[in-house]
Assembly symmetry: C2
Homo-oligomer: 450 residues x 2
């Protein structure tokens, strides 16, 4: 369920009139994710009033956890410090750490200093891990129990825990040294003989990730083993936190976006809803870089100005060879980049993957080259033009297949993101090769084209 | 943990020598997802022997559920019918239904007829839902209990259930009419007063999806509300099944791939590991379609052959205007398409989103046009050439911004996938507009360019 326009209008009016009670009533039955959506529609002062109401109905921490970063950052920096501190203190540590990271420096210090020492410590612990690492997205809220506890004792312990931690579906088991040794799914705990110790009930040899592991890798592991949460440990298998599947889903979305964005040289902050100035500022440098690449292409064409002057029809067919190469290259690039992201391409197979794409390019180039050559011959009546287009197309499509596969695989080999700027690299390559192949062949056979 | 090359070689040798016992021993400690990986390395006969061993160690159903479709299809159609039937009967219904769908027609009938009546019915029920609907990916394995049961009675029921259903974290509560009325997370069940009835413990007004809902929408809901599983119901809120978060993750991956693929006119089956013939067959028709679009572009250039013949420098600068427009258009397209996929663009905002991208294009066009104009002037010494390039670039970048945003939004409006072929539509548009703007301006001012 979501709010409709009438409801949103009503809430805004109530907010402006300071009728907190009726707003609180209108919010009843809605969930944090739905409440979070409202912020998009509010002015800064409406947002402030709304945050206060959310605090009153005890929904602020959960709702703020669901607000998209772009909107949250402004909100956090505009909220009264005391209010902010009390909200953040109720968030899971991973969300609180992320929120603290969005605060302006001075504000951040003040908020951190207002936290209870133990909470502050946990937040700073998470913030010490590098961006996009497992440690930076883990939550410290988890249920650990000693291995000698019986199943019934474990259930009794869970009973007396605070109600808040409802997102508990696994119990993590530690041995006497405090080392992480096993996992008991709640379902299994219930079914176990009440007097069996956890060490006999637990799944041993549990899957875990190191705190420095990249979040993309963590997402891969959770997806591969169908986990609901993955424990984060240090080298000595000391349990540091857990990453739950809902956070993994966020990581997966962000990584898919990143891949699509990197191929086009886009910045993460450049969103449909971000201000125009951000889009312009972020895209401009990339466009300047692009300009270099098209000028190089132009210089290649420039080499053949004399041929074009003599046979101007060449200019007409320039977009044909280059355009098809660009398309073929980008298709290959997409297949290979996505294959790498999904783990479909293991590193050992790179050579055959490149060869395959090269041959696919060659075969398609043969077919498309034939059609192009014939079409050009029928259109302009010159068989040599057709022949040259046929050969140029074949060369360019083969190179497109090779480049589309080789660029992301090469980037991966040198430990760069395989999607990095691939679209432009490949298009520049196929443009240059396409123009060069076509125009140099044409120059060689110029007398037959006149 | 995964198998290393030495281990894989060893297992293959043991398989060929029929030493099942030692293979079974080598598999100990590995998980289904890891065992599934092995199939990629095996020949057909090795696969067959391996399946038999997996059945013996009771891992076949779980392992086969983890094999990628492309490999699974062949395997299923090569496995002995009796063996196959017994494996599928142990799978969760959603995986079994998907597997049945991969079988050749005659084989499928035989397998379905060998199932127990109730299992067969559940499979056929799932298979009746349209592809990519919630119903087609739901599993029938879930725990439903009447609302009048007490918490303790519920726990006792769970205790005596088969061990197999370990992926249970929610209890679904039905009223006397069998209508779905609430959910109890296991954690809450344990903490509840033993004698409170479920209807007092449960979360009422539970989130659920209709069986005909699109799977992409289901994924959105699971992500939005941080669910571990979402119940699937009919119009009368009768519970049909559940979709677990691990299946949702698979849907999300597939949908992200689909978006990237659609933009480039690629088919889902065209993967890094798919046979060359598949890639060729799937890409060729799209390339032919493409060929039309580049020929239209060529025809536009052809209109200006006389101008180009007089001022051949125009041919040199053609790739500059078109190339930059293509890049700008594809950037915008990526931002908007991704924004739609992530639900960042609500339909009501389309007009402002298009306007924003148009203005971003205009501003970047101004800047890039200035640099281009200056660079061309410095390179070729003709201020008019610079001026024409400046204006053409501005026009083309503005159109690129508009098209990149309008194409996916328009496709969404007419209920098509917003990513559908966007890359080529946008590139064709910016090529044509770019060439036309540049060459028609040049023709108008031709005397100053000579």
């Amino acid at each position: 369920m979501s709010f409709n326009e009438v409801q949103i209008d009503l809430i805004r009016r109530l907010l402006r009139h300071g009728d907190e009670e009726r707003v609180a009533k209108a919010l009843d039955k809605f969930r944090p994710a739905e409440l979070a959506d409202l912020f998009r529609h509010f002015s800064a002062s409406e947002q402030a009033a709304f945050v206060q109401i959310l605090v009153d109905v005890n929904q602020a921490a959960e709702t703020l956890s669901e607000i998209p970063d772009a909107i949250l950052e402004e909100l956090l920096n505009n909220t009264q410090i005391d209010l902010l501190t009390s909200i953040l203190a109720r968030m899971p540590t991973d969300d609180a750490a992320a929120a603290v990271g969005m605060l302006e420096l001075e504000r951040r210090e003040r908020v951190l200093n207002s936290f209870e020492a133990s909470f502050r410590e946990r937040i700073e612990h998470i913030r010490n891990y590098p961006k996009d690492s497992a440690g930076s997205i883990m939550s410290g809220e988890m249920l650990t129990l000693p291995e000698n506890l019986t199943a019934q004792e474990a259930i009794d312990r869970i009973r007396i825990l605070a109600k808040s931690s409802e997102f508990i579906f696994y119990v993590y088991v530690l041995n006497d040294n405090g080392t992480f040794v096993g996992v008991v799914p709640l379902r299994r705990l219930i079914s176990a003989q009440p007097d069996s110790p956890l060490k006999e009930v637990m799944v041993t040899d549990p899957i875990a990730v190191l705190a420095n592991e990249d979040q993309e890798k963590v997402a891969e592991i959770v997806a591969r083993y169908d986990l609901l949460a993955v424990p984060v440990v240090d080298e000595k298998f000391f349990l540091l936190g857990v990453i739950t599947v809902d956070d993994v889903i966020d990581v997966m979305k962000a990584e898919a976006t990143e891949d699509m964005y990197l191929m086009q040289g886009l910045s993460e902050e450049d969103r449909v809803y971000s201000p125009m100035s951000v889009s312009i500022k972020k895209r401009f440098p990339w466009m300047v870089l692009n300009l270099f690449s098209v000028f190089v292409t132009a210089a290649v064409v420039g080499l053949f100005e004399r041929s074009i002057a003599e046979v101007v029809i060449l200019a007409t067919f320039m977009p044909v060879v280059a355009g098809m190469g660009g398309n073929g290259g980008n298709q290959t690039l997409t297949v290979v980049t996505r294959g790498i992201a999904l783990g479909e391409l293991k590193f050992s197979d790179s050579k055959s993957a490149i060869l395959k794409q090269l041959f696919v390019g060659l075969v398609i180039g043969l077919g498309i080259g034939l059609i192009t050559g014939l079409a050009a011959y029928l259109w302009k009546g010159n068989p040599f033009l057709g022949l040259i287009l046929f050969v140029a197309m074949m060369i360019n499509m083969t190179v497109a297949g090779f480049t589309g596969a080789a660029v992301p695989i090469f980037l991966k080999t040198i430990k760069q993101d395989p999607a990095l700027g691939g679209g432009v690299i490949v298009t520049t390559f196929t443009d240059i090769v396409g123009f060069f192949a076509f125009l140099s062949l044409a120059t060689f056979f110029l007398q037959y084209l006149k």
